[in-house]
């Protein structure tokens, strides 16, 4: 699949925003001891909303006819894209309600319930972003349960790193916050590595099932067009195997290994803020690469008609 930068940027940035919002709200509601002052919570959520918003705006850049974008909520009953849009829009009033309660310094059940609602809503929104891809039977590298898991985990991981940076600037900072982010980085890393392993085995449709000649060798003689078409531009994207492998290593190092080292440094009583800023920069780059690979490695079955033997 052709990796469109606007979509890559959108999924990574708003994923991080939803992750940050969810963690901030959850910590507020569930932690025994507060790690952020109300002002820090407001700042954290404001940053989250900023990330979400620039992500959503960037996602409209890949529309060929953006003036009809307002219609994108019409098919909520069947379309994950419509669901994602609706969840993303409805998140704003919920977030605003939560921020209002923080502003008023509310405590107690209503506050906690709103915080949990906002956090769950944020995670469900990332889930539906993942489902946009995971529901497509035409792309086997996406059509599996790990796709939404990866989307959620990488968003939450980035969010947790930003959360630690903001928390570390205040008074209430604790070791617990750092260990939580360490766990999240570990889960995100494992789920992504399993995904790479999982999509490795060739399976699914072949040029034989595509052309109905299942008893014979089938070979493309002529693709029928002299220049590229919409189909070859959109789906024909191919990268050399060795380059893909190098990029996978890059993902592993920048998205997981460097942040893990920074966590370790912080736990060994290094300067937490600086270590986590380094972790954030590295992880953001790593996850952008991961998202680029997510598209670049995806092989749409229409390539079978253009000569691929298996997708």
């Amino acid at each position: 699949m052709h990796p469109a930068f606007s979509v890559i940027f959108f999924t990574v940035t708003s994923g991080a925003g939803y992750g940050l919002f969810a963690i901030t709200a959850l910590y507020q509601a569930l932690a025994a001891q507060q790690v952020m002052s109300p002002v820090q919570v407001l700042v954290s959520c404001a940053i989250a909303l900023f990330l979400i918003t620039i992500g959503l705006i960037s996602s409209t850049f890949h529309l060929a006819n953006p003036k009809n974008a307002w219609r994108a909520f019409s098919r909520v009953r069947t379309s994950w894209l419509a669901r994602e849009g609706l969840l993303a829009i409805l998140f704003y009033p919920i977030a605003a309600g939560y921020l209002y309660l923080v502003w008023q310094d509310m405590q107690g059940a209503v506050m906690n319930a709103t915080a949990i609602l906002a956090a769950v809503w944020a995670v469900v929104t990332i889930f539906s972003t993942g489902m946009i891809y995971a529901c497509l039977k035409t792309i086997r590298q996406w059509n599996n349960a790990l796709t939404p898991v990866n989307y959620i985990m990488l968003g939450v991981m980035l969010g947790s790193i930003i959360f630690v940076i903001i928390a570390s600037i205040g008074e209430g900072m604790s070791q617990g916050v750092i260990t939580t982010s360490a766990y999240l980085i570990a889960i995100a890393a494992v789920s992504k590595l399993v995904y790479f392993f999982w999509i490795g085995a060739p399976a699914g449709s072949t040029i034989n099932t595509a052309t109905s000649f299942t008893n014979n060798m089938v070979r493309l003689l002529d693709v029928g067009h002299t220049a590229g078409t919409f189909l070859t531009d959109e789906f024909g994207f191919e990268v050399a195997r060795t380059r893909l492998l190098a990029l996978r290593w890059m993902v592993a190092v920048f998205a997981f290994v460097v942040p893990a080292l920074m966590v370790w440094l912080s736990l060994a009583s290094g300067p937490v803020t600086i270590a986590y800023v380094v972790a954030l920069l590295s992880a953001f780059g790593g996850v952008l690469t991961e998202r680029w690979l997510f598209f670049a490695e995806a092989r749409h079955v229409v390539n079978l008609y253009h000569g691929s033997q298996q997708c």
Binding site: M1, N65, P66
Partner: protein
């Protein structure tokens, strides 16, 4: 009704007449124009509802060239419709034709991602998705003589490799011919239940091939034959 096409892979000669007739009719039809980019440039490209690819099937000497026209299959379980967020893509209740409402589409390409058959192409000039309409603006047109109320591709095919009709009627030409000649669906494992059927090439007699003679006398003869130029 379940309208669709049958394509006879035995008789299709790969002349592209159907694709051209389709483009000609539909560029001025309800979903037209079918924009071209750089039509007179080095790499002309543009929207086509119907594309013909050519394959070699089987191994020498029993191989065969198969010309393979493909357009929208008007699938019964059309994921292109269910994934469309705007409601621009829809499947008609009355005859099963899958269409794109050009006024509602936002050009997100999502439906093209969901289609296994490459039947949808974005019109990059107009920013909206285009696809085969099964000539919905011909087949019901009462101003046309009755035998011309068929898709442009079917009417034009010089080798009569295309049939149009209602698969819900077990006695229609398309139902009978796909039953008798084992009409196949493409990529059935996707579960889209494509309506269009492809008739496999008829079985041919085994091809006789010349086997090299190993007897020494004929080897010498062969050698002499190669030496002596006539």
């Amino acid at each position: 009704m379940k309208l669709g096409l049958v394509i006879d892979l035995d008789t299709c000669v790969g002349c592209n007449a159907c694709a051209v007739a389709c483009k000609q009719w539909n560029t001025s039809g309800t979903t037209g124009p079918l924009s071209d980019l750089e039509p007179y440039g080095k790499d002309p490209t543009g929207v086509w509802f119907n594309r013909i690819r050519n394959y070699e099937v089987g191994e020498y000497p029993d191989n065969k060239t198969v010309h393979f026209p493909m357009s929208c299959m008007h699938c019964e379980d059309a994921a292109c419709v269910t994934v469309c967020p705007t409601g621009a893509s829809y499947k008609r209740e009355e005859d099963g034709i899958v269409l794109v409402d050009q006024d509602k589409c936002m050009g997100c390409n999502y439906c093209a991602w969901a289609c296994p058959y490459g039947a949808r192409e974005l019109d990059r000039e107009q920013g909206v998705m285009k696809k085969c309409t099964l000539c919905v603006d011909r087949i019901y047109d009462e101003n046309l003589p009755e035998d011309e109320r068929q898709p442009a591709c079917v009417l034009t095919c010089p080798s009569h490799a295309r049939y149009f009709g209602d698969f819900d009627d077990p006695n229609s030409e398309v139902s009978v011919i796909s039953r008798e000649r084992n009409g196949e669906s493409l990529m059935p494992e996707m579960g889209y239940q494509p309506v269009n059927k492809y008739l496999p090439p008829r079985a041919k007699t085994k091809v006789q091939t010349y086997v090299n003679d190993t007897n020494p006398i004929s080897k010498v003869k062969d050698w002499v034959n190669r030496l002596v130029t006539r």
